[in-house]
Amino acid sequence: MLLAVAVLAPLFGSMIAGLLGRAIGDRAAQAVTILCMLLASVCGVSAFVSLVYGSATPGVVVLGEWVSAGEFHANWALRYDTLSAVMVAMVTCVATLIHIYSIGYMSHDKSIARFFSYLSLFTFAMLALVTADNLLQLFFGWEGVGLASYLLIGFWYDRPAARAAAMKAFVVNRIGDLGFAAGIALIFFIFGSIEFSTIFAGLSQHVNDVYHVLGTDFRAYEVIGILLFIGAMGKSAQLGLHVWLPDAMEGPTPVSALIHAATMVTAGVFLMSRMSPLLDFAPGAMHFVTFMGASTALFAATVACTQNDIKRVIAYSTCSQLGYMFVAAGVGAYQVSMFHLLTHAFFKALLFLGAGSVIHAMSNEQDMRKMGGIWKMIPLTYVAMWIGNLALAGVPPFAGYFSKDAILEAAWASHSLVGHYGFWCCLIAAFLTAFYSWRLLIMTFHGAPRADHHTMEHVHESPWAMTVPLILLAAGAVLTGFSFADQIIGEDWHAFWGDAIGVAASNHILADMAAVPAVVSMAPTVLGLLGIATAYAFYMVWPAIPGRLAASLPGLYRFLLNKWYFDELYDATIVQPASRLARRLWRIDGEVIDGMPNGVARLTADGSSQIVKLQTGSIANYAFAMLIGVVALVSLYLIVG
């Protein structure tokens, strides 16, 4: 019941603000959506607390029938277990804070009601995703957040870049979604159901089922794992399908914080955890997950080191941290990936909102090269950014330290080749993460002011609506680590998670993590500190070094600055050829395919003008023709009959 209110309240708020926004005005629309969000977060947190610490029992609330065809059934239903409760609590809390933050951030915008309506719509879709009891409803939420993301990225629809980014996000996500949808179809094909409980109950029966594809028989679970991960790659911006995420920064900053950092992009990680009982039986697919996650973590971290747009740095950082989460999921440590998801939600939302506060103060400037020297003017934002970066870099005792360390330990403890690949990628990325975080911090706040006089005059701390969420999120970035670490990823994880995360009997990665050598546990922290020191040296002490480094390695610098040329590659290999093909096919359609019937028509017309000459008026000719016809018919009848 609590869960139902938590899920549906944002929808209600969204409808009121969206449909009646013009009638009731901006302030009323804001009030309604925020009240709905407050209600949702109270319900969401209580649902979580009463399940994990209270007496509530997991269950499913069926709201109604959705799709049904033959033996295919999917209900509208809310699944109440630790996995969904923890996500609902996190999503409602973060979303509420971001709603409040938006009062201040969007105060000068011309369509405030529309913005809040979209934001609440997004929250609803995300909640529908995490509370789904079957894969189809999960897909509903999955696509719903995609729609909301599209609308919010393109919120400033009069900017060409925003429109293009919105469309890119939707289309790239759709590529992943197709894989996801095919994965759902295969699950139905194998299990005869898409409900989680039925799937997991049938796991042992179908473990050796094969599916024939690409001329070979593969184990069906492996194919399912790969297909679902393709979906996750789109939504969670993993290498190859990541290109939409940096562009998505065209949306307003609260959107980046909510959708493209804390919640939607982690949906892929959530999916892995949700399907953990099945994925544990698909080791091949999970190796692929680890490999892609590790590669993304490293790739995105390298790119983040050279970007100059403050939001893009954080966007690549998100991309990289999502890679970490997939490494954890890939080696079977789903609890660890969920833990990092939670801590990351707080500190990354904090970083984005902090960046928003900076942008707000700097009169909408986003280029870090035009910032600097403002830390005394906006001290609260400055402190918030420090906390966020400390958490991100994994400095103890901030939240990221606990979750990120655990990921590296898990990767090491997996004792597989790909696990070690994951470990090393993540380790290097840990150094880079700390480096680019302090690069960002120093470039933004320190040094001589590089903005023009006019901008500097207007630098001011943000209003309370923006600073209060910053403070609360900063508290989260400090506290969520040590207060939850033992419960979520400790030896007694079963008490916390219940049956929500199911692992195979052979999976004892959490126990193995405790046994990794101390040097492995220490390594990321040490490298993190090293990264901070390097950034300090490069940007504070000897600010000439970065420029000289870039000049001495121009190829590498350009390669990183241009984000490994992924956009150019796709443009040259997919976008351009496709549009050329489209134009060519259109010509073919007009000339060849349409030409055939038109040709026949012309032939008929020409032919009939010839045949007209047969109409001589002579009865003998007609009689002869008739005779021939009769003969032909009779002979046809004799042959066929």
Partner: protein, 506 residues
């Protein structure tokens, strides 16, 4: 008698003609005649729609057979009778036709100013033919309605269409007629074997596999053009572009369903072996249709053409679904037909709204409409999303069920057949972005007005239907679950019988 207690299907079929007759009797000044014709047509179609709701209420969805059956002997010695009836497969199409007709009439309220009387008459005649076609249970009766549909549609395009209307109308007529003639031959052949044209009897007549092949090809010629399947689709963009808005609506909404309905009613149940034999061929054409026409849609500069091509792609999904011969595939195909009937109709209406104001369909002539037309932007967005199959809208359910059904055949069929999920998003979002988003810069767009009350009345039922079908599709699938189950069973039994027979022969 039947559940309704009176010959409801006959009444539904011929009531529009009564309205047409009333329109014909009106004499007087042109303006009065026109207004009279509009109101009479609207009321007639609304009464027919209200009457058709009896089918919705009284239809027994647990019964997979034909209901509301009426039969009058016509040519008993030839085994031909006037027989009407609906089953789960056809009943919703009757409702779709009766629901879209008043919407079309309302949509033409202001945009048609010449020969209004004849126009309204044509629409009422068209309604008769459509309803009759979906109700007919005698092949000959079906054939007559099936062909007669062409006549009013031909006139609607040819008289009230755009600049190249005559070319488009003649092409539409000849193309579809040429296909149908082969169906007539097939009809004669079947009659010659079974000595009846009763569809129910024909469904249970076992034609020899060799004969099935020829009959299938003959049917294919007719239905593939109507669907239209690639490469027989080129009449469609021309017809759509030249047709008046309401013509496009009914063409996309109902007329395109006739071909797929034919496959479901005739090809699959009557010719099961040939259907299986030709299934890979159908898959190929359908997958080509999905990918090829989606790409072509991408290159369009005319809004109507873009949506016309997208229709071909969506119908490709339908034909895949029908020929999977499993419950999910066929249900998905049926649902996709219904949802496409609503959504593409609505999209053509969306184009009509701006065409009525600016009189161009060039995509590049628009931009930034959202500033002036927020209600329109919201409506258009909903249908755009439905067209690209967003879950929660009508477009998703059918497409997904077909994907599931196709998966039982092969991964590639299902993935390639669903490529429209991606390509559809590209061309529809491109269209939306160019027309609705952006800066409002063009001078003549500055004064453009948002939806009028009449237009809201047109869109409201379609919006409601799109969401209803997306959120609670069971109230629609419930109608055809039993019929589809029965059809699939019947099909499998027929295939099993043939292979058994082949075993005996060997």
């Amino acid at each position: 008698m039947n559940q309704a207690g009176f010959p409801i299907l006959t009444l539904l079929t011929f009531l529009p003609l009564v309205g047409g007759a009333i329109i014909l009797t009106v004499r007087g000044e042109e303006a009065i005649v026109a207004s009279n014709a509009r109101w009479t047509a609207l009321w007639t179609s609304l009464v027919v729609f209200a009457l058709s709701l009896i089918l919705w209420v009284k239809f027994d969805s647990s019964n997979g057979g034909f209901q509301f059956v009426e039969s009058v002997s016509w040519l008993p010695q030839a085994g031909i009778s006037y027989k009407m009836g609906v089953d789960g497969i056809s009943v919703l199409f009757v409702l779709l036709s009766t629901a879209l007709t008043p919407i079309c009439i309302l949509a033409s309220w202001e945009s048609i100013t010449t020969r209004v009387r004849e126009y309204m008459l044509a629409f009422l005649v068209l309604e008769t033919m459509m309803v009759g076609m979906f109700c007919a249970l005698d092949f000959l009766v079906f054939y007559m309605f099936f062909e007669a549909v062409l006549i009013p549609m031909y006139l609607i395009i040819g008289i009230w269409g755009g600049p190249r209307r005559v070319y488009a109308a003649v092409k539409f007529f000849l193309y579809t007629l040429a296909g149908s003639l082969l169906m007539l031959l097939a009809l004669l052949f079947m009659w010659n074997t079974a000595h009846t044209t009763d569809i129910e009897v024909l469904m249970h007549t076992a034609f020899s596999p060799h004969m099935q092949t020829w009959l299938f090809l003959a049917f294919f010629a007719s239905f593939a053009v109507k669907v239209p399947m690639w490469p027989f689709h080129t009449w469609l963009p021309d017809a759509h572009v030249e047709a008046p808005t309401a013509g496009s609506v009914i063409l996309a909404g109902v007329l395109l369903k006739m071909g797929a309905y034919g496959f479901l009613r005739f090809s699959v149940p009557m010719l099961p072996d040939a259907a299986v034999y030709f299934a890979p061929f159908i898959y190929t054409l359908s997958v080509v249709a999905v990918i090829y026409t989606s790409l072509v849609a991408l290159a369009q500069t005319d809004m109507k053409k873009l949506i016309a091509y997208s229709s071909v792609a969506h119908m490709g999904v339908v034909t895949i679904g029908i020929f999977t011969f499993n419950v999910q595939g066929v249900s998905g195909a049926l649902f996709q037909m219904l949802s496409h009937g609503v959504v593409s109709a609505a999209l053509f209406l969306c184009v009509g709204v701006v065409y009525d104001r600016i009189h161009t369909r060039e995509i590049l002539r628009y931009g930034g409409l959202v500033d002036r037309m927020p209600a329109y932007a919201l409506t258009f967005m909903l249908f755009t999303m439905a067209s690209i199959g967003l879950p929660g809208t009508a477009g998703f359910v059918g497409e997904f069920l077909v994907l599931v059904g196709a998966f039982k055949i092969s991964l590639w069929l299902s993935v390639l057949g669903s490529a429209g999920m991606i390509l559809g998003a590209v061309y529809m979002l491109y269209l939306y972005r160019r027309v609705v988003f952006g800066k409002l810069e063009k001078l003549d767009l500055k004064g453009i007005l948002d939806l009028s009350p009449r237009e809201i009345a047109i869109f409201a039922p379609l919006v409601a239907l799109t969401l209803w079908m997306g959120i609670y599709p069971s109230s629609f699938t419930g109608f055809f679950d039993a019929a589809v189950g029965q059809m699939v069973e019947h099909h499998q039994a027929a295939i099993a019988a043939t292979s058994k027979l082949a075993g005996v022969m060997r």
